[in-house]
Amino acid sequence: MEKILQKKSFPKWVEKLDAYEIYSPVKKDNTWSYEIINTPGDIELDYPNAVQAPKKIINPQREVFLEFGRSDDDTLEVTEVLPEEKSVVIFGVRPCDAKALTLTDLVFSEDIKDNYYGKRRKQTAIIGLACNTPPSPNCFCTSVDGSPHSEDGFDILLTDLGDRYFVKSLTNMGNDLINLGKGLFVAPKANEKKELAKIHADAEKKLKRQVNDVEKIPPKLKEMFESAFWDEESMSCLRCGICTYLCPTCHCFDISDEVTSVAPFKGYRIRTWDNCQFPDFTMHSSGHNPRPDKASRLRQRIMHKYQYFVERYDHYQCTGCGRCISKCPVGIDIIEVLNKVRDYG
């Protein structure tokens, strides 16, 4: 379904969505993040990309699985805790971040379906905003099968046409949301469709950075497991977790039990994000660590995204959002690393 929505009608549409919990990018001390908003006026869609991808809403950093405790008669009680049932809408999602969700879907809905992720995913509508200008100087989505107006993972994609939005609904969930604002939307005219095509085409040209011949990288990586390349590239790595925690596609987790009270005994089994850049990620209880240094961990990050994932799911596990480049404290640049890998040897 394709529609046109006047920008001044946008808040009216949001008002109609009062049955939903609404997230939108919000500016807080100079940084943008996805937060729950209370009034439609709080939604700002003129923003560079948020520091943290909306993955933090669908796959929160801390997820409670179980609640356990000892009851008064001393029996052990275990209760499953499932995500709260509610309808959620996330506004202003960038195409790279929405595509990232489709990649995480592959992992969490393979043979064993992840109930927690699945539930949140199902009850959340993703409303995107096409990037007319690259939201970050390090955007490179077109190099990894993406585009500034890719429709992957969206229920609705908005494109800014100045005083109007071009609204494209891609799922039934999207149609339902548009129907809630009946009367506010009109059918697009032919010239508006033309305008849309032009904006989309222009946006692609505005991307400054790219990885050429990306398809050459996975086979190349396969031969580079033992290469000294990783030692050189990782010299300046600090072993922090910025690149992976901010990555919209990284989804590794750890499960642990937190005892909140000893008497009466009570606690939670939780899932938290984990991070392949931390030394304890692969540490064995014997004290042996198969990825003992930062070289092997940088290698893991690149290999997982550009080799193992490609082999398994036939997609790059990277959507070119550029967060890991912009936020790396020492300027390790995945585009540079990939270019060097491609030309290596």
Binding site: Q52, Q61, R62, G241, I242, P279, K327, V330, G331, E336
Partner: protein, 343 residues
């Protein structure tokens, strides 16, 4: 002014003579104006060295890295490492010397003076330039920076874009070095703790409101820990498992590792992490401000360290990083230490 040519000449010479194993310095990054740390062992690569107000990194962290590598090396090359140090970085060297983590012979210090200015705060610069893309930034005379953007060059007063740590820097000139470039000009700093005082002056409830909001943001990527040259412990309280595991460590010992801080990025856990970090750096933090710079969520972590620095100065007349022979803050005392808070 630091003459980059002189710096390169010295670097080439010490590499050629084999005096140093390699040099840790700054080089131009792949994209944008921010330099990246570089490791040069071939004299031919000295050409890549750069020095400008965007050289924000505290490179002494890589000395700690090297030290850890050497420990595992069966045939270690014990020649010194050449390293470029600013005023703050050189104080970090002094603390590492004070704690006997390194020997003076482990490093060959190429000091650079920040003269009257310091390094830039990327965010302040972006704000001042209203989104224009910076291509290059250089030191200029009279406390200005020369900023080249895509639309041309302009002089900007350094004060407008200086990193907070530089505004409060007590010594923007290396305090320990083997050779130094640039002039020693002491800048007058009237209020070295002004930033902390702005927080202290808030009411108790407002302070809490401030920190609650800030520390709630933390995602525990531990970049603040990773970037800190003083955070060199093999094992940290926040790690989920013990790294001091040896083949003969018993299962019981492993199981008894105390979980001081849970993995959940909840406010309560974040507070324990950040306060413990600050406490562990009391009398050790040299205020290079790297922890705050690298924080992806812009948490003003430096305040916590600065508060420790202020209390150490006011209560115990202790200053960090100037004297490698002084005893450490928390393993020493004076009879006259304040005790009016004790009953």
């Amino acid at each position: 002014m630091v003459k980059l040519e002189d710096l390169k000449k010295e670097a080439t010479q010490i590499l050629k003579s084999g005096k140093v194993k390699y040099i840790i310095g700054y080089a131009k990054g792949a994209d944008g104006f921010m330099p990246i740390p570089t490791f040069i062992s071939d004299p031919e690569d000295v050409e890549n060295l750069t020095w400008n107000p965007a050289c924000v990194h505290n490179l002494t962290k890589f000395i700690v890295d090297e030290k850890k590598r050497l420990k595992k090396d069966k045939n270690p090359d014990n020649r010194p490492i050449g390293i470029i140090v600013k005023g703050c970085d050189s104080r970090a060297i002094n603390v590492l010397l004070q704690e006997k983590y390194i020997d003076r012979d482990d490093v060959y210090l190429l000091g650079v003076s920040c003269e009257k200015t310091g390094v830039v705060d990327e965010k302040k610069l972006a704000k001042t330039l209203k989104g224009q893309r910076v291509v290059q930034i250089d030191f200029e005379d009279n406390g200005n920076f020369l900023v080249t953007t895509e639309s041309g060059s302009e002089k900007i007063p350094a004060e407008d874009v200086l990193a907070e740590r530089c505004i409060e820097c007590k010594a923007n000139f290396p305090v320990v070095f083997d050779i130094v470039f640039g002039e020693k000009i002491k800048r007058q700093v009237d209020k070295p703790f002004q930033s902390v005082e702005t927080i202290e002056d808030l009411s108790q409830e407002d302070r809490w409101k401030f920190w609650k909001e800030q520390l709630d943001k933390c995602i525990r990527c531990y970049a603040c820990r990773s970037v800190c040259p003083m955070c060199y412990c093999d094992e940290c309280v926040v790690d989920t498992i013990s790294f001091a595991v040896e083949p003969d460590t018993s299962a019981e010992e492993k199981a008894q590792k105390i979980k001081w801080i849970e993995k959940s990025p909840n406010l309560s856990e974040n507070i324990v992490y950040h306060l413990t970090r600050a406490m562990h750096l009391a009398g050790r933090c040299i205020d290079c401000g790297e922890c705050e710079r690298v924080c992806p969520l812009d948490i003003p972590i430096r305040f916590l360290n600065k508060k420790m620095e202020k209390d150490a100065k006011n209560f115990f007349d202790y200053e960090v990083g100037f004297d490698p022979d002084q005893p450490s803050l928390v393993s020493s005392f004076k009879d006259e230490d304040p005790e009016d808070f004790i009953r």
